[in-house]
Symmetry: D3
């Protein structure tokens, strides 16, 4: 199967490392390709940037369907454009927040999300409410490292992530950890080990990879989102978005 | 005070009637101006069109703040761009869905939303969940008349609206009615009278006007949305949105 | 329009300052009159005093309707007699707790109520549950100053209010503040400034004034509470309440 | 033990049959006395009448405590004055709605309340929300017989009660039945048998008797309501209620 | 009436003290007998041990019904086998967790459960969710004394129970206390007094005795669990449980 | 990876077809083995049979871990023994109800479960509550075919499944369908096609296969259930379960 990962940002000065993260995690036979945006923000740390990313995410999802991809992943923890893209295509579109929060809800009584910046706490809290898992959310915490700094040196985030995860367990009652930014890809094992050293054996979920596995699952089960919830919009004039004409 | 109403669509072939609807409803001393979008859809009947409208809504809200407006209303029942615009400005930004659903929740044990098309049921249901009033929502119903048809001949919608409102009361347990499209502006009194003829004395809320009154209230009380929930985004490069550069 | 503010207490030794608070906040053309009770408590700080106030509140609301008022406000944060009065009249009856809590819910992800005495925490918590906004309530806190002391020297409450509001933000996750007593009228701006000095730009809501603006809004929109939720009682013998005979 | 049943109405033309209902249901050794009100309505079928009954209910509850009663029952399905009375006394005060709804919640996945008049549906729905059992409430239905008619000829209510109970089971998904008026006392067995004839073996709860048993249980366990939830009010001047001076 | 208390463990080295606890608490005329299991764990401190106890609990409940008992109590705070036993018999089967949590919900705005071991916190939290009272649960706390140690010297638990109960009140907002293990039987009064010394007059509920009183109440009201929620299973082959063949 | 599927019943007269269902759905490299129980019921259609199956499910899960399996699936829609087994092992244990309900919650606004017998409606409703997805559950419906009949001739269930699924969509507002019995394995495509013929493009989820894919996902992500939610029980004497001694 072919999975299209949309990195929902405009890349500046070289591609993001997304492909390296996703390819090894895919099942044998899954092909992963990464595309980024032509129009949008350079990183997403607000509802505002989520909104700027959404139109071109829909365009890229439509292109992926036309080009024979079997599923789409929107590689950002705010799940920008998820509903809009699902309306426009019939292949599964998967958001890391939705996939990882539901996975965490399956694995324990509660979970905390650890994200990059305090300013992302309200949007992530809102995603938990939107997806119906608010009563399992113990807290949202932040390590106060911006996304672009994180991508430059992800390893530097391990220690702050462990620190916040321990606080989530001890103060907030978390029984699991979900990373609150897909830029934290690849750090789940190290953070899980840090927690184990304090005797906390809890799942630590990397949301981008979780989204990949959910996408593969949906394709293999021939499932996709409901067209009663996400009906295809009528064809109408659109001004200012040539790719969505 | 000066209120900016953003008609979140690109107008084709003449302005929408918005000004005529809002001006008479404003308090003496309130000035209402209507702007529409340069980039976006021609009508909003999906999450997809909501997403296409959002970026220019933010641009128009920022311009309104710069130009001395005291508050902004986004004149569409999906509240497109509400969170994103609130992050970018400090003056109140009001959405008709949020304003009218909370007003309805104050006035009775439950309410139904009557919208234009069946396809809008899931997004409106989702707005009720987002705003925390889902347990007061009796149902969302549709009259199956598209927005643009409705705007051409709003009076034709009265009878179908009364019919659906009666079903909402009798079958779904609604104790109040909220219009599910701001294109239904001006029809609340007629629909209320239709319900009264069946002995149902329930509030019928026109969401656009409700948003205007909430905006005036917020300005007069010197209130605005919380900057802890909607923090101002850091200034960053944006590609493809010159008005938001 | 004419708004009747019911100060739901028996005044002893001079009128409450209510009129001075409400009149300047009213829209031009709104006339505000204040009445107090002939039968009831001298202040309301319990469900017990709420119950003692309710019968005469209903009598005063009925009198207001007969006398041509367009709306009624019950000037107490427990909203005493709100449902009972709504049953007996058709003009809007607005409670400060309901109006301010829904307004706060529109403006941010969460809010705290700061009231006078710890003993009012359970009744205010119960009001949040009754109105369906419990999941937005971060906490209820108290400054431990009784209502009658507060009314004698409201300015003295500013510092304790700021202190509790800061604790609400920092410890309880509040994104907005609602005063938990209408005796705190006039202090919202000072408390808001105190919060701003700590960099917290959050709405601070004065519930009595919020109720006034909601009442004006309802009158201007020709809306009132649902008669399906609040049906008019049958006429029956009543013993011991001559004003309700 | 001595239990005081407050019939929260002013009796006209002879005592209600309450004592005959309660005495046989009491444990050996329990003594039941019934008092009615000096001030209040003649029956309670609205929030308005609930409010008129509450002050004298508190007075009677205080008198009961002074006179050595071990517990108080407020014999009306709206639980009028429950919180206010609990604040003023330390002996248990039990409301039929609260007692019977929690009992029903223990016995099955859901329950419906069958009351006298349609107009009582919203207040009873509100009680379920207040007590935290709303998600177990399948529906509230009415037989459209006023309380005073019911008390004149309770047997006539059996058939309509069975009819509504069957509709509750078949249409609303009820797995249990709670009577929505204490005037239905004594009919539970007949209604239960009516349901059994249709093969529905579900609990049918008589709320007044349920309240009695909960009161006896609390006394025997030396339990009462929490004084953190229902703190004793400060002693203050009260105008117009000599019995509460 | 005859009540069968199932001590859901295999006793080793002498009977549990259950009978001494229950007999004095029963109404005159109630006869209490205690049975223990032939197959199962020696104590229940996990979902695993709950599962091992359940089959023989059902067998003992069936035997109790055959032998003319009027009700069954499962004397463990996890309510093991409650649903399964209710399916197999028509006499009331009562679980201490369900009975005590609903009783606590009647008596105050919130309650905490104080149990033996931290490892029981998730199962008890889950019971609160299962019974629909999660929003009244302030916290679950543990004294870190295993059940079998507790039964050897229950008095030693009073001080730790008071300590945790005070923390529950002061830190978690509890307005009532429910013991989280039926091995704490007999300690409610001492713990309540310890709380009173700190000025906290809150109910302290002994769940086993609460279950007894609920069982007696159900028998006296001729009530039992709903057979729509707990339908009798079809008769089928069972392998390996001779007592249930 | 090696996945152990526990068919949680005692097989009589030949193995269930489980292996044929699971093997083709597994990723290349996944090995699936099926074990059944030595002690338990012959089919599970009640909480009672769920309880009888649980002890040997735990024994089989422990054996699977010892024998080097990477994950365990409990092949029954009631998820019998899920929590108990998770306490005893560290490898992931997956239940079809939990896996499929969360998957359905990701794919649309609501879903219905279609099961074999009406008597399974309450337990399945309870599972939705337990897993926190109750507010997404539109309904539970039954085709009234017992499990063992279903397994004899699964194709005969397609038409009744389509019929109930259409009712779920049209009457209950379902936007997705989850099979309520793992004996319906292999029918999802046919039922989905039946719905498509009525223009309903909604996901139809086969819970056993969904559980397999979730198990594979967890293994590949090195994730398992939280040991804070499911702590390993202390080693204690057990009577009557030699396989768990």
């Amino acid at each position: 199967m072919k999975i299209c990962v949309i990195a929902p940002v405009v890349l500046q000065g070289g591609p993001r490392a997304s492909l390296q993260e996703f390819a090894p995690a895919a099942w044998p036979g899954s092909q992963v390709e990464v595309v980024s945006l032509d129009r949008g923000p350079v990183s997403i740390e607000s509802e505002y940037e989520d909104a700027l990313a959404a139109p071109d995410i829909v365009a890229k999802a439509k292109a992926a369907e036309v080009n024979g991809f079997d599923a789409v992943i929107i590689d950002c923890m705010l799940d920008p454009g998820l509903g809009a893209a699902r309306e426009q295509v019939s292949i599964p579109v998967v958001g890391p927040a939705q996939a990882s929060m539901h996975l965490a809800a399956m694995l324990g009584a509660s979970f905390s999300v650890i994200t990059v910046l305090q300013r992302l706490v309200p949007p992530l809290h809102e995603r938990a409410r939107r997806y119906g898992v608010l009563d399992k959310l113990a807290s949202v915490r932040a390590i106060e490292i911006p996304v672009l700094d994180l991508e430059g040196n992800p390893r530097a985030a391990v220690e702050p992530l462990v620190e916040q995860a321990v606080l989530a367990v001890e103060h907030d009652g978390a029984h699991g950890i979900v990373f609150g930014c897909t830029g934290m890809a690849g750090l789940a094992r190290a953070v899980g080990e840090g927690l184990c050293q304090r005797k906390y054996r809890v799942p630590v979920i990397d949301p981008g990879i979780a989204a990949l596995k959910v996408a593969e699952t949906l394709v293999s089960l021939r499932l996709a989102h409901s067209k009663l919830t996400f009906p295809t919009p009528a064809s109408k004039t659109v001004v200012g978005y040539p790719s969505l004409g």
